[in-house]
Amino acid sequence: MGRNLLWGLAAAAVMGSILSAKAQETIKVAYIDPLSGGGASTGETGLKTYQFIADQLNAKGGVLGKRIEIVGYDNKLNPQESLIQAQKAIDAGARVITQGNGSAVAAALTDFVAKYNDRNPGKEVLYLNYAAVDPVLTNEKCNYWHFRFDANADIKMEALTNYLKPSTSIKKVYLINQDYSFGQAVRVAARRMLAAKRPDIQIVGDELHPLQKITDFAPYVAKIKASGADTIITGNWDKDISLLLKAAADAGLQVDWYTYYADAPGGPTAIKQTGLNHRVFQVAEGAANIPNAPSQEFERALRAKYDFGLLYPRAVNELRLLAAAIAEAKSTDPLKIAAKLEGMKFTVFDGGEGFMRADDHQFFQPMYIKSFGDLTTNEPFDEEKTGWGWRVVAKVDTPDTILPTVCKMKRPST
């Protein structure tokens, strides 16, 4: 056995490389997100989540008899690199691209997909956006081939501000966000909606910091302290929220947090360190402890395989919706899939009805406000082995989440 191995290796060494081509028929979905550098924790978690969901779908026979294959491409959180990777994915046979981390990347991708489809009729690709929530992507920059499965930043801020409207204890709010399109969208929406709903609240700070570049937020926490704020509203994600929380824990900052992505890898651990029990809130489309049997079963299976819980209920929705659209269209041609996807109604992961609005390709679904802290006996899931977990404190039904759009989409003439 050893000698055969030696000969085999020697022969292989002399022979040179042979690129093995996958001969199987699969539906390739290209996952283009950061797999190295600043956004790597979320990117890698996302890739594994997608693979898990695809495995489940394939175990039930796949779609139209074909397996769904998720292929990861590292874009290093960079728009130009994403285009290179998208081209590579298309050359490798993928006709569905999915991406979520970074609205800057999303803007470049949606532009690229629109141009590519325009210039290559018959070879179109779909772009499924699972987390880039800059509202502009389904408004001014909307396009027919882009579908967004996450509630956009305005929808989320609407839900958040509605929740905190009756809290008279909030007097001074500090805004801290990442300095790019999404972070700016969050602060603009926060200012607008707070001014409309609670004009008595004073905004004592409005901070923009570089995206995924800061390793020590201590100076920023010092500023927040100095401003006397009692509430923080932030759209930070991945390292930017977990390090901000960590710095807050170190400094002993005692405020309420209203966040978009506090459940990022490292976030729950940092929240536990701050000791803020049920004072950190997040707006999301799901939570592990929602008493819905199928989603809890999924959660258990995912945690058994990997060390993390489900960050993206919307990813589950996305792949299942894609599979349903392919099955209904009886084809893997993006032109036909898109026609079926828009307007589609769907039972979402955590229970309830959602639908993909045809006007702007924005998916609407029930939204939840959840807070992080100690759990009761019928809340079985904690996060990152801290003993604390997410508890739903408010639910917004789908019809109440709908916001208008200015999208004027150019549709293909079929």
Binding site: G2, A10, Q80, D91, A107, K115, S181
Partner: protein, 431 residues
């Protein structure tokens, strides 16, 4: 005719042959550029060849600094990026204003952008030389890269600025939507830039750049101001870097702050050095090779960048003259019988070398499998041979290949040395 004026040498060559000798190389290169897409027509190949074209122009502009004038810059991507931004804004302005400017003229806008800033920054940078110059270039690169996120109106922030290359004036109905059309545009500009940069090396200024590189003090005594020479070289180099940036902007239809990144500056340095900074065609080889590796190697193994870095270190240590230098080293052998002897010696040395490299590669791949990809299990394939990374036999085999290969390789060195010594008794023999 007297004895003194009689011709003693062979008849002078006809003028046409001289012309072919001089320009033939360029015609051959042009022909190659035209024919390549017919041989490699796939989407990936076209994209890769376009990227190669852009890198070649960029690397050649970089070598104007490094190889010709002896200036090591760590921030050349600044001019590349600024060229790209000027090109993108130019395209948007032309499309918005309906101006009669066709797409092939756009790289010129990129070149001008690079030139303007090379004049601005070059005046400051070229006051110093050597390590100080390198550090200034590094600092400037970081400055410009960070400013891109602050000056949003021009640089577009994190998203960058996008454009559409099909919206410009169309000559002969060519819209440049298809990759093949973009390839030909890039190839044409690449050829033009190569020719111009080669012509630059033939000018007195180009020669003085070499002089300043070799001995700045002596150049001063001859009457030239080294700082002015460096400054002019810097400006011309910045112009061509801007052209490369313009071509990249046309290809990607986006310009963002990643164009200024340290990776971009580092890649061009790698490409130029690996190709060989001492010869004009060195960066061409280096840029083509690096572009190819960047696109194709990632399919072969996930840790191709490690191999890349090791290759670079090996070249710095053992062959600092680069690939071009190694090729030129063999030039005296051309057309002589000794060439076949040296080639035979290389052929004998090649199998052990490959075995040794395969052994090292196997060790690296197995370490990677066990360390970073532990969750996916130890089963892997190496050049289509399946094996398990956690079995001791696999490690022993890898070790045997590596060490055994090295020992055998070492034994062939005297053969190569002897072949070289026989080839030229006056030359010092070296493997």
């Amino acid at each position: 005719m007297s004895v003194l004026t009689a011709r003693t040498g062979p008849a002078p060559r006809p003028a046409i042959l001289t012309a072919i000798g001089r320009y033939g190389v360029w015609l051959a290169v042009a022909a190659a550029f035209i024919v390549l897409p017919l041989v490699f027509g796939s989407g990936t190949a076209l994209t890769m060849m376009s990227l190669m074209g852009i890198s070649i122009v960029f690397a050649l502009s970089y070598n104007m600094l490094l190889g010709q004038t002896g200036m090591l810059s760590f921030g050349h991507a600044v001019y590349f990026g600024l060229g790209a931004y000027f090109a993108v804004h130019g395209m948007n302005a032309v499309a918005a204003g309906g101006l009669p400017v066709p797409l092939p003229a756009i790289p010129l806008a990129g070149g001008c952008g690079g030139l303007v800033f090379a004049i601005l920054f070059g005046w400051v940078s070229t006051k110093r030389s050597g390590t100080a110059f390198a550090m200034i270039s590094l600092g400037l690169a970081e400055l410009v890269g960070s400013s891109a996120l602050i000056l949003r109106s021009f640089f577009g922030g994190e998203e960058g600025v996008t454009t559409d290359r099909t919206k410009l004036l169309r000559l002969f109905g060519v819209s440049f939507g298809q990759q093949i059309e973009v390839y030909y545009l890039i190839a044409a500009w690449c050829l033009l830039c190569m020719f111009l940069m080669y012509a630059f090396t033939r000018t007195p200024l180009g020669r003085m750049c070499n002089a300043v590189r070799d001995n700045a003090e002596r150049a001063q005594f001859v009457g030239y101001d080294p700082q002015m020479v460096r400054f002019l070289a810097f400006c011309v180099s910045g112009f061509f870097a801007g052209v490369a940036g313009g071509l990249a902007a046309i290809h990607f239809e986006i310009a963002n702050s990643a164009y200024f990144s340290a990776t971009q500056s580092g890649n061009v340095l790698l490409a130029t050095f690996i190709g060989g900074s001492g010869y004009f065609f060195g960066p061409v080889i280096g840029a083509a090779l690096v572009s190819y590796l960047q696109v194709m190697l990632s399919d072969l193994t996930e840790i191709w960048q490690l191999y890349f870095g090791l290759l670079f270190i090996a070249m710095v240590m053992f062959a600092p003259q680069g690939i071009a230098g190694v090729l030129v080293m063999h030039r005296p052998l051309w057309g002589r019988r000794a060439l076949s002897r040296v080639t035979a010696a290389y052929a004998i040395a090649l199998p052990p070398a490959l075995v040794m490299l395969a052994g090292f590669a196997l060790v690296i791949e197995m370490t990677y499998r066990l360390a970073a990809k532990a969750a996916e299990g130890p089963a892997m394939t190496f050049f289509t041979v399946p094996l398990a990374a956690d079995r001791p036999e696999a490690w022993l085999a890898a070790g045997a290949l590596a060490i055994g290969g090295f020992v055998l390789f070492r034994l062939t060195w005297p053969i190569i040395a002897a072949a070289w010594a026989a080839a030229d008794p006056r030359k010092e023999s070296r493997p």
